[in-house]
Amino acid sequence: MLQYTLKRILLVIPVVVFISVIVFYIIQLPPGDYVSNYAAEMSVAGEVFTQEDMDAMRADLGLDRPVYEQYFIWIKDIVVHGDFGFSFNYNKPVLAVIEQYMGLTLTVSLVTMAFQYLVAIPIGIYCAVKQYSIGDYFFSGLSFLGMATPHFLMAVILMFLSYTWFGDPLLGLFSAEYVNAEWSMAKMIDLAKHMVIPVIVIGLSGTADLIRVMRGQMLDELNKPNVVTARAKGLSERKILFKYPTRAALNPIVSTFGWSLTSIFTGSTITAIVLNLPIQGPVMFNALLGQDMYLAGTWLLFMALLTVLGTLISDILLAWLDPKIRTEFRGT
């Protein structure tokens, strides 16, 4: 098992190196660079930027060097100093920017993930056991709708409903009076209230997907002979349900854990923009548009890494959960 894990991790390294090259290439793709963007912005504000000013600024930021040199400097700093570069927009190191938003990003993501599994698994089981019942049709219909509605609009609609019902669209993650306040019970409650809409919106498509997967798996498992065997042994229906079909059906579900966290991380971007959430997505999106290249690059790299790690975690979980694979490692 350990050997398998190590081997998988080693295989990740070349992929990551390759990804970093592509990432750097992609962030170079948009026409112009940070300096020209900045100059354009400044000229709107009435300040005139001469060519010399721009060249000086480029030299200052290291943008005058050839692209491959910029890349190697960036990678060298990451590997040697753990320095991911400098964010031009925020005027501080990329890591500091990421750190600032990481806590809330993780909170939202993890809560969303918990929401997805806690809602989807019981509903999936219910729909399979009561196949073709009214409840089954209801939840199946709901999950189809959930998959068909664009995230951002769902967010707007929920905000609208919240506004008409409670008089507060619950924008952002905190009410104005708590944004800069110390952590307290009241602030926690305020945060929890504001998290309802983002969690539902971000988790919706994942939940809908999981319900359908869980239902399908359960239906397969419920028809397996081992259920009849268990029944013939004299087990109660309830015990059979949880011990045999549910356990087996959970296998593929649990193995989506790693992958699911990644998709929540990235999937939250648009929702976060609409709901004005102070998390990674919008910050990085603006970096991408504004050619704040190191911030955007680090973010892309980080996302790719997360995807690779997610797949890795999923594979390992699957191997660990499946007795067939697990027993192969027995004694090694």
């Binding site: 390759f18 992609i26 709708l145 998959m147 068909a148 664009p150 971007t269 995807t307």
Partner: protein, 379 residues
Amino acid sequence: MKLLPVFGKSTVVKPAGSNDVNYSSQWRLMYLRFKKHKLARVSLFVLALLYMGALFAQFLAPYGLQNYDSKYVNAPPMKLRFVDAEGKFHIRPFVYELKSARDPETMRKIFTSDTEKRYPLQFFVKGESYKFLGLVPATTRLIGVEVPGRIFLLGTDALGRDLLSRILLGSQVSLSIPLVGVGISFVLGLIIGGVSGYFGGWLDSVIQRIIEIIRSFPTLPLWMALSAAIPPRIPVVRMYIYIVIIFAFIEWTGLARVVRGKFISLKNEDYVVAAKIAGVGDAKIIVKHLLPGFISYLVVATTLAIPGMILAETAMSFLGLGIRSPATSWGVLLQEAQQIDNIALYPWKIIPLGTVILTVLTFNFLGDGLRDAADPYKR
């Protein structure tokens, strides 16, 4: 020990002339099972309607893409009426002209029906010129009212443009991008996945690593990054091509994996090995023996990939990274639905959401129906 005789496999003699499903071809079987799937059949019908709408959008839409009227900014949908203000019944439906006024309390502009000015609905009216199916110059439009009357069956947007027309014209982009994108990725996936699976060896390893790397990029940020790289002021057609290519570039990897997996499992089947030993060429083996074995799965996988693309296109346009003005798509139309006040004051602006949901749902149902039909082990 003595022989254990086994019976039970008695010879089955087929009664002559019976139309037994056991003897039907793969496609006929699929068709028979698909026919049973009511929801999928209805979905296919709805999709056909939607695509017909897109094809004939210029003819169906009362107004063209560039048409706007500052007099009718954010006008609500007009009601088609049969009975006028005096209670008289008209066999031909009509609309009243909209009269704008200011709400005395909020000072907001509101529209009321001007019952003095009645415009009967007319069919096959002369309108702005356009090119029918993009080829034949034409001016006839399906519905309209006599000038200077206006008809806004679904209301107007912030520039006074008819929403119905824009939804129809937008569907040309929103419905074709996923189709073209999926079509390209279908071909790419088939060829690359096929080569990878059939020939194997180092070629397979290289292709697999490439796919792995592309797939390890999270889709959304990659879309964003690539879309951000498209220069903002380029012709609509080129913009469209770029977007399609971006979608196809990400999507083909999934299909290639399906194809590769099927190729690998099928190429060791006895009948394929037999064909090889008999000296049949690679191309013929692929076309005659391998493709029929899994093409149905591929069709299903492709159908199920479309909804994702529709949603992605909507999201990209919504962020301003997709199709841009003057062209339109459903995502562009929904940009106006971004603010809550817009939804609160002009709720008709959410209508394009309905068409998005309808399309995605019907594609999902269709895909489900096809999958059930393609899987011989499902009931």
